[in-house]
């Protein structure tokens, strides 16, 4: 009796399986002209046959497997997200790099060189009023270029902030669109291939904005999470994210007036910035919170531009105030020429200025020594161009070299982003090609491809390792 029942169940199961094949064929015909529609297939599996053990064999339908299988779709989305990240980095860093002139013909390096030149001229004619005025003009130009550079970077930071807010809005809008598709799927349309195509198209667009995980549920809906942790969409419930500026309270900010950090908040208000890693949003957060902050500061750092401005201004002021305008008696001490916000290290570059009350005859020239040197101050100032003393350096290099380092940081970041973008575009093209390769093959054909690939992969891998080593050896020899 049990064998009879088992045979009947087996037959019913087989008929159901063939029924699903016919449904799939019908679906393919109906959606032949639907844009973005991918042909679907159904796989039938032979069941084990062992009558003595009550195993009656038969045929069972495997899960309905779309030829646009989710694995390949996910790989394409990941590469899309990574490509979009690099593209956004290139755009932002191109703008940043243009703020720094490393040719020495404009901006801070030209102003510094002109001022050093004026110090040298002043050292040869210390009493000349016109030469002294040139020094004051040069100092004013240095202060102006620091302010201009700071303002340009600050403006770019604000621009990045605005772009982050727009990207967050775009993410919420795209998730809302997919939420609507989920709603339709949950109304019993889970096998609607046209709906599936629209969902995939929307997920592709979302992957340009941010990196995420998508999981298709058995009810036809798709769940979306950031980094697999923060939900953006579950069934037909959307969880909106938001962006805001913040100065961390714990630990207390070392630079309270420094530019705030941009953070992303989940729908429950928790900070999820660290989970928004890819796509446009990830790149914009990196540029705002890390790259630009390294120049103009944030709650944890003064920023390299502010450090340079402070160290330069305080060194010039120090040499002038240690000198004498008149040896006396009574001796008349020198006065500082640069002013800046001394209470906030993150505000030095934007507040740097030359004291407008200073006149050329207030510039000290005498180094009291001993021995006293009549033009000792301008001599010491002119040596800032090629310093020998550690006190005239910043991080062990001259002020001009330090500027070169912070400028080249922007350039090297851009160069890396350009190289990475080219590689990413290749990886995206490859992922799309692999998706297409998998699209039209049966499981058995796929197994053959995998075995052939595995063998060829190992040979290629060995050759590339050899070439990599030989190339490195060549570079080492050529250096």
């Amino acid at each position: 009796m049990s064998n009879l029942l088992a045979s009947l169940v087996s037959s019913a199961s087989t008929l159901e399986a063939y029924g699903r094949v016919l449904e799939t064929a019908q679906n393919n015909v109906s959606n032949a002209s639907t844009p973005g529609y991918a042909k679907q297939r159904i796989s039938l599996y032979a069941l084990p046959f062992d009558p003595a053990g009550g195993v009656t064999g038969g045929v069972r339908a495997g899960e309905l497997s779309s030829s646009r299988n989710e694995y390949a779709e996910t790989a394409v989305r990941q590469q899309t997200s990574a490509t979009s990240y690099q593209q956004q980095l290139v755009n932002s860093l191109t703008d940043l790099e243009s703020r720094f002139d490393i040719s020495g013909n404009s901006g801070i390096p030209k102003a510094l060189n002109d001022l050093f030149q004026s110090f040298s001229t002043w050292a040869t004619t210390p009493g000349n009023q016109a030469t002294r005025q040139t020094v004051l003009d040069g100092a004013t130009q240095v202060a102006n270029t620091f302010q201009q550079t700071y303002n340009a970077l600050s403006s770019q930071s604000q621009n990045a902030e605005q772009q982050i807010r727009q990207t967050v809005d775009a993410i919420n809008a795209k998730v809302a669109e997919i939420q609507n598709y989920n709603h339709i799927a949950l109304q019993g349309n889970k096998d609607d291939a046209g709906l599936s195509a629209r969902m995939h198209a929307a997920l592709d667009e979302l992957s340009e904005l941010v990196d995420f995980s998508a999981r298709f549920e058995s009810d036809g809906s798709v769940s979306i999470t950031l980094n697999g942790q923060t939900p953006l969409l579950l069934e037909d419930q959307q969880y909106k994210i938001s962006a805001d500026l913040t100065v961390p309270q714990v630990p207390p900010s070392a630079y309270p007036d420094a530019p705030a950090t941009m953070r992303i908040l989940g729908s429950d208000g928790t900070d999820i910035t660290g989970r928004a890693t890819g796509g446009q949003l990830g790149a914009l957060l990196h540029v705002h919170n890390e790259v630009l902050a390294s120049y103009i500061g944030d709650s944890t750092q003064a920023g390299s531009l502010n450090r340079l401005a402070k160290q330069f201004a305080s060194r010039v002021n120090g040499l002038l105030t240690n000198g004498q305008i008149d040896a006396g008696p009574p001796a008349q001490s020198g006065v500082p020429i640069f002013t800046y916000d001394t209470t906030n290290d993150a505000a030095v570059a934007r507040t740097l200025a030359v004291d407008p009350t200073i006149t050329p005859d207030q510039l000290s020239t005498i180094d009291p020594g001993p021995p006293s040197v009549s033009n000792g101050v301008p001599l010491a100032l002119s040596q800032l161009a090629s310093p020998l003393n550690d006190a005239d350096k910043i991080d062990g290099v001259s002020f001009t070299e330090f500027y070169g380092q912070i400028a080249s940081y922007a350039g090297s970041q851009l160069s890396d982003a350009n190289n990475n973008q080219q590689v990413q575009q290749s990886l995206l093209a490859q992922a799309k090609d692999l998706r297409d390769q998998y699209s039209g093959v049966s499981l058995d054909e796929e197994a053959t491809i995998l075995m052939q690939f595995q063998r060829a992969y190992q040979a290629n891998s060995r050759f590339i390792t050899i070439l990599d080593q030989l190339t490195q050896d060549t570079i080492d020899i050529l250096k």
Partner: protein, 119 residues
């Protein structure tokens, strides 16, 4: 002979770029062709390394070698990405169809006893 060195470096780089182009569509046939090109490139590079000493300090040779290295790294990245794609899928497919082994690894994929019908 720096000019010979430069030519060898440029020729090797061109071969690696050809490999990169092939890896944009990493079918087994394409990857097989890559092996042939890479074997030639490796031989060429070994020859180049043997005579590179004469070009020591030559900035053009150094730049050419740096470009070659970038092409090599790009080829490696593309190959590894294709490998990850195939091997991860193989593991997922094994786990989906056969579960996991006693050691927690995805079951190996068996290809017998399956029928695939295309509708």
């Amino acid at each position: 002979m720096p000019s010979v060195t430069l030519e060898l470096l440029a020729a090797t780089r061109a071969q690696l770029d050809a490999v990169c182009d092939l890896l944009l569509s990493p079918t087994p046939q394409a990857v097989d062709r890559c092996s042939v090109i890479l074997e030639t490139a490796s031989r060429q590079m070994a020859e180049c390394t043997a005579q590179i000493g004469s070009a020591r300090g030559n900035p053009m040779a150094l730049e050419a070698a740096a470009k070659l290295r970038r092409s090599c790294q790009r080829a490696r990245t593309l190959l590894e990405a294709a490998g990850r794609f195939h091997f991860n899928w193989l593991a997922i497919r094994g786990a989906l169809t056969g579960g996991y082994t006693d050691r927690g690894e995805p079951a190996p994929v068996h290809h017998s006893g399956s029928i695939s019908l295309e509708a």
